[in-house]
Symmetry: C2
Subunit: 281 residues, 2 copies
């Protein structure tokens, strides 16, 4: 990484695993001129089953690595769980000059733009749902949000069953339960937020399972749109022409093999070499 | 815990999560006179996706906690992944006077007794399979073992879908693949080892999916049988009459709520209070 911030902004992307590569994929598609450093805290995933205090400690360590050791000017928290539970802790862990973007608020904003009825559905991991971060972010925009934890979807994606009948069955079961609950509460939802970075890989199955006319909000695309706005306001973003090949660097705290093997599916291009880093703990 | 080792042996049971409660359940059923201290390293689960070095470090910390702070005379490593990858590290982390039992070898022994053809199947997590610890333990007993990772089964059990059609479908898919592979290799398996502590909860579905006559080896029961043999050889085991209520104490490194909520299903009785312990890291 020989580029200075004056040449091109350095965007640090953090996730508990490699699911956040779907966010990086969306970022690269919209802002190919930036340099990207991705870290997956794979030694300590999944964050979804851990306490707020533990998640905050882990996420702050990764954030400091991206800023202090990799020179990141922007931080994108691609992990829904960390965005939901630890965004303030992450902001406090780095200098105030570093912009920190979580994935929750852009998702809620996109839901606000998409929904006509003001009622939206959110599917996510257990910890994200228990935090009610999406419901709170949606409520701040005048939306009523009904959230549902779908813990089987991440392992189904990681098993590679992204087009499998079993996955279609599980999605149908979860969505039927969610729609029934929405009906019982008198809601009339017209948008569904994908509140987990793994879900874009099963978006076609989800699209096939939702009622006609329901809009699907991909949080990865929402946060990428937000970053492009931020880059446009700052220095450097528009000064560098688009590069043929995006500048990407990957770190993981463990399980580099799995990251390299499965990551390409999430990123949409070969991940190549993943560097192992020890954050302690 | 006011009992000294002279009164009643203290058995420390370790798992990365609470799945090992199925092992504790089998232990209590066979040796109700012992005192049990269980620790689930829930802050850092699942071990299945982590490297050998990381797993060894984590498991050694839990082992020392059970011996040094809880006075365990025996250690039962109820975690298949830790048994497969870190049993020697655990033995080195505690005094040589402490007996350390892993779950792999008793499972292989039970398979040896059950199999007439000498060919056995093993289903487990990804890391346990990649370690080939069951295949090695079986080979040492003259068995040919074919292993298969079934990463969806743990999340299905934790979702509570232990009798669900989706779970039956997933089991059928995994076993069909495994039996086809066995056939292609000219094997004639007549026993199936459940190499993960979560699997006893879906044993009825697995029994319904295997060919007629195939024996199912429950590693939890195998390790409990082994502990009873060890206790019988030592002091104290037979000196104390069976207690009406087993003496149990539970620790977790995080996610006490989930442990308390889901643990009872694994233990077969109410778990009650789970104490939070910080092992650092």
């Amino acid at each position: 990484m020989t580029n200075s911030p004056l040449q091109s902004p350095i965007v640090g992307v953090f996730d508990s695993g490699f699911g956040g590569l779907t966010v990086l994929r969306a970022l690269v598609a919209r802002a190919p001129q930036a340099h990207y450093v991705f870290i997956g805290d794979t030694a300590r995933l999944p964050y979804g089953s851990k306490s707020r205090r533990t998640i905050a400690r882990y996420a702050a360590q990764s954030a400091r690595f991206l800023v202090e050791e990799q020179g990141a000017d922007y931080l994108v928290i691609a992990c829904n769980t960390a965005s939901a539970l630890a965004l303030d802790d992450i902001k406090q862990a780095v200098p105030s000059s570093v912009s920190v973007l979580g994935v929750i608020e852009p998702g809620a904003s996109a839901a606000r733009r998409a929904s006509k009825t003001g009622d939206v559905l959110v599917i996510a991991t257990d910890a994200t749902v228990q935090s009610h971060a999406y419901a709170a972010a949606c409520a701040a925009k005048g939306l009523r949000a009904l959230e549902k934890a779908c813990p089987l979807l991440v392992p189904l994606v990681e098993e590679g069953w992204t087009g499998h009948q079993v996955t279609a069955d599980v999605i149908r079961i979860y969505l039927d339960e969610l729609l029934a609950e929405a009906g019982a509460k008198g809601l009339n939802p017209d948008a569904l937020v994908l509140g987990c970075t793994h879900y874009p890989l099963i978006k076609p199955l989800i699209e096939a399972a939702v009622p006609t006319g329901m809009k699907i909000i991909d949080s990865a695309e929402s946060i990428a749109d937000r970053l492009v706005m931020d880059l446009g306001d700052g220095e450097g973003a528009s000064q560098v022409p688009g590069l043929a090949e995006p500048q990407l660097r990957f770190f993981a705290t463990d399980s580099v093999e799995k990251f390299e093997r499965l990551g390409s599916r999430f990123l949409g291009r070969p991940v190549g070499h993943v560097e192992l880093v020890d954050l302690g703990g």
